[in-house]
């Protein structure tokens, strides 16, 4: 049994939120640059230039890419042979609290969905924990803005609707969202499981770098096909028209019930922020 201190987790999370909110992941930056080269609409190209300049400014000056520094989604893989001394979830929240204050990031969380009083420190995070073999700890942090988060949807399709039903639903979500999720977007699709599993898969799909396809060849083909269909809508950057509506589509799947075909779509903005910590 390996042992680590929860205080070490707090420190790593603090550093990670500071980096994640000010530096775009390399694959997202690359996808934006490639999209800019391909874009045929002059208005869209101008918007992509501003988005790229924004990323440059944020990184060089250490200021947040977007004022919506998000509610932090934490996807954690906890090795069953690892003992974390202290309170792991409290340590993660403490790392977020100190990092957000240090970075002058916005406090965007309310204590209660009805009373809506701001907690003042951007906690608590939304923490999903998976128990895995081994003695490691992997923490994926996804500071997720609400502009895109509010545009996600889940559908409980009939198995008979199959692949065409899945494609229709993904297109429907993206089209209804239009300009709101700050396109060009990243599209996470979860297929299978049940209602909450599909939603979780869609969120986990957003963690995969844009230059990595699903290892299953048929799903990799579906990712490419959906990306082509989404970009053919012409929604474009900020929904003001153009070739670049999405930077990527990532799909994750899971076994499901004989009667079910759950599909969830989680959208992420062009400032898709994510970071991985390994302890």
């Amino acid at each position: 049994m390996r042992r680590i201190q929860s205080n070490d987790v707090k420190e790593r999370v603090r550093q990670a939120v500071l980096t994640a909110n000010t530096q775009l992941p390399e694959d997202v930056l690359l996808a934006l640059r490639e999209a800019r080269l391909r874009e045929r609409s002059s208005r869209a190209a101008g918007i992509l230039d501003i988005i790229l300049e924004n990323a440059h400014l944020a990184e060089t000056e250490g200021i947040p890419l977007c004022q919506d520094t998000g509610m932090v989604v934490v996807e954690m893989e906890l090795g069953s042979q690892l003992l974390v001394e202290g309170d792991l979830e409290a340590a993660i929240n403490e790392g977020i609290r100190t990092g957000y204050q240090e970075g002058y990031f916005r406090a965007s969380v309310v204590r209660d969905p009805l009373n809506r009083i701001n907690t003042g420190d951007n906690t608590p995070a939304i923490i999903h924990t998976h128990l895995v073999p081994g003695d490691g700890l992997t923490i994926n942090l996804l500071p997720k803005g609400a502009g895109s988060e509010n545009m996600g949807q889940v559908a409980m399709l009939k198995p008979s609707q199959g692949l065409p039903g899945i494609k229709d639903f993904v297109l429907k979500v993206v089209t209804e969202a239009g300009p709101n999720p700050c396109p060009p977007i990243v599209v996470g699709v979860g297929i299978g499981g049940n209602m909450e599993k599909a939603a979780l898969l869609a969120k986990e799909a957003l963690l995969r770098p844009l230059n990595q396809s699903n290892p299953r060849p048929d799903l990799a083909v579906l990712e490419k096909e959906l990306l082509g269909m989404i970009n053919a809508t012409g929604i474009g950057p900020q929904g003001l028209g153009g070739d670049t509506t999405a930077l990527g589509v990532n799909i994750e799947v899971y076994p499901t019930h004989i009667a079910s075909l759950p599909v969830a779509v989680s959208l992420s903005c062009h400032a898709t922020r994510r970071i991985k910590i390994e302890l």
Binding site: C66, Y104, L171
Partner: protein, 183 residues
């Protein structure tokens, strides 16, 4: 490239056309969900608004705190649709320009046409870039709302695109709502 500066008359606003690129200069009020709810409560109680709204501009934003030496933190537009239920009452009071991102509902567009107001789109998610176009910021009302407090800002060369003009022409109607059928 056109330039606008508050206070604006209905005639000035009606000259702006959908798709025009606009640089916004001067005084702009920052307000989002909670500040809008408070302003509508003021109006419902017959109380004055915290600022003289005729001819003014509202930017839908909840900025990051200002780091030392800066006037404001990251400050890009938020989704305008959440302000749709409040906007017609403010347009009726004389609000002339709204800046945000995303679509507006029919009620807002009708109020814009009736009273002469315009809706501008700024680049969502470009909060670092846009913060450099804001040269002063002060909280003028509802300080208890923190990032959602009502602020008076001063813009310099703040870039926007006319998304819905005072004639009701809507940029999003051309590019969206094209239902795509899977093959």
């Amino acid at each position: 490239m056109k330039t606008i500066r508050a206070p604006l008359s209905a005639e000035e606003v009606r000259k702006l056309q959908v798709g025009d690129e606009v640089l916004v200069q001067g005084v702009v009020y920052a307000a989002r969900d909670a500040a809008h709810r408070k302003m509508i409560e003021n109006l419902d109680k017959g109380e004055p608004l915290p600022f003289e709204i005729p001819g003014q501009i509202i930017y839908y934003v909840g900025p990051c705190p200002a780091p030392p030496g800066q006037v404001i933190g990251s400050a890009g537009p938020t989704t305008s649709g959440r302000m749709d239920s409040y906007a017609p009452a403010l347009i009726e009071q004389g609000l002339k320009v709204m800046i945000g991102k995303g679509k507006r509902d029919q009620g807002v567009v009708e109020a814009m046409v009736r009273h002469g107001a315009v809706y501008l789109a700024a680049v969502g998610g470009a909060g670092a870039y846009l913060s450099k176009r804001i040269i002063s910021a002060e909280v003028v009302a509802y300080p208890e709302l923190g990032p959602e407090a009502l602020r008076k800002l001063e813009f310099k060369d703040f870039p926007c695109i006319v998304a819905i003009d005072a004639q009701g022409n809507n940029i999003f109607e051309n590019v969206n709502d094209k239902p795509q059928k899977a093959i």
